[in-house]
Amino acid sequence: MNSWIEKQRYIIDFTLSSLLRRKVKNIGLLVLYTLIVFILASMMFFTHSIKREAALILKGAPEVVVQKIVAGRHDLMPIEYLDTIKKIRGVATAAPRLWGYYYDNLVKANYTLLVPPTQTTTTNISRTTVVENEPNSQSVDLTKPLYEVNGTKLESGTIIIGNGVARLRQIAKGDYMPFLSFDGNVMNLKVVDTLSAQSELVSSDLLLITEEDFRKLFGIDKQFVTDMTVVVNNPSEMPTVAAKIKKRLPQARPIIRDEILRTYESIFNWRGGMMIVIFSAAVLAFVIFAWDKASGLSAGERREIGILKAVGWETSDVIQMKFWEGAIISLTAFFSGVILAYIHVFFMGSPVFEPALKGWSALYPNFSLTPFVNIEQLTTLFFLTVLPYTVATIVPIWRAATIDPDSAMRFTGD
């Protein structure tokens, strides 16, 4: 056993020596390989974490959201719908929502304006919304008046802004923010608080505003709301209730919480455009490597194998040497790539992906991801990179078997 270990060490010694002979080529190969693993692993870490985070955060999303669709577009909903919905069997309670978008010409950003739900609605919701694994979700905060964030009351003429908005506009508590209302008037609203930086992943672009100001800003009549949220008696009946709503109100489009969660489950799916581009580029590069490796041995390598065999190496020793050659490069590249990816995604906030994720948006949330790591995915990545590369390195060695040890004797030129 000892001599077996010693033998492997000798072979590794020799393999490293011969790898170092072609420094530029092999270090270049290692760097490229590391880069591929880095990109794939970053992608994996990022998408997995964001999915897990979305699943945890959005557990408290509305059970059913009912929109009104007119000619394929969202339309304002008459408030009468509320009574119709409330009468449907299985519906515990329903509440109107008022929200919309505001385009800020100054910084070219879109904000989400939202009227916080009234206290009564939420108390009702919290009665039935049992969120698993989150014992604190029904904490005292929910009983506070809802127009209040961190002890600051949201009153007419005031707004509470998300941290992203504050950062982008460089405004803080006490500042005024002008808005252009539907009829061309300027409304100056006072910022009374900002939502925490920690919550940016859900609140970065939010502007909390009172119902009165919201209607004044957009000119929405009292009898209309944006959409409605519904709480059902039995959460397992959500689809049934949604179907009933659809039947009763043909113009309505109910969206159940499961659908919201599933949307984020499938976000950044590998079939997504950019993902498939990155992925196929990586795979292609890898295939080129593998092909380069498998395409055979150079004259120099054949000569070397001839010498090794002449001085007493068996074919199996040569195969072991090639195995280590593949293993050294792929193991080093794998671990370096994964470590770099981890630092990239969880410590540096994915700067490599940022330009693509940002897209055209002027307001980009500043969030740090919770490091959810899927060991299964890591293992898959390991087998998808280390294994094929090592195999591709060994495969051409069948040619080595055809190199006779006496080829070294017949070699006369230099």
Binding site: R9, D13, E53, L56, I57, L58, K59, G60, A61, P62, Q67, G72, R73, H74, A109, T112, P116, T122, I125, S137, D141, L142, G162, G164, L195, S196, Q198, E200, L201, V202, S203, P239, A243, K246, I256, D258, E259, I260, R262, T263, S266, N269, R271, G272, G273, M274, M275, L331, T332, F335, V338, Y342, I343, F346, A356, G359, S361, Y364, T370, P371
Partner: protein
């Protein structure tokens, strides 16, 4: 030092760094529970439906609330006007259940 030792030391170092990172991640995950809970709470109190990932268009800002007629929903591989659309995919599940309701 022997080259093979150098290789094994560097491999062990890398393994250790990785396991430290994973360990740190596991601990950090617990400390970040607070932040997760804060976000979850905000979602619940404000009745939010989506993550604020892409603010460039309404159908990317509220992915799950997008109507079925916006560009995003056109075709799974259609080229997007907005780059973020190419990262995401339409919720087929939502479309499915919607068709059933029609």
């Amino acid at each position: 030092m022997r080259k093979s030792s150098l290789f094994f030391y560097s491999l062990i170092t890398e393994l250790m760094v990785l396991s430290l990172l994973l360990l740190y991640g596991a601990i950090d995950k617990n400390t970040q529970q607070e932040s997760l809970q804060e976000k979850a709470m905000l979602v619940e109190t404000l009745q939010l439906t989506d993550l604020c990932l892409f603010t460039e268009a309404r159908y990317t800002r509220h992915l799950s609330q997008a109507d079925l007629n916006t560009a995003f929903q056109d075709h799974p591989v259609s080229l997007e006007h907005f780059p973020s659309g190419s990262f995401t995919q339409p919720s087929f599940t939502g479309m499915g259940s919607h068709e059933q309701l029609d």
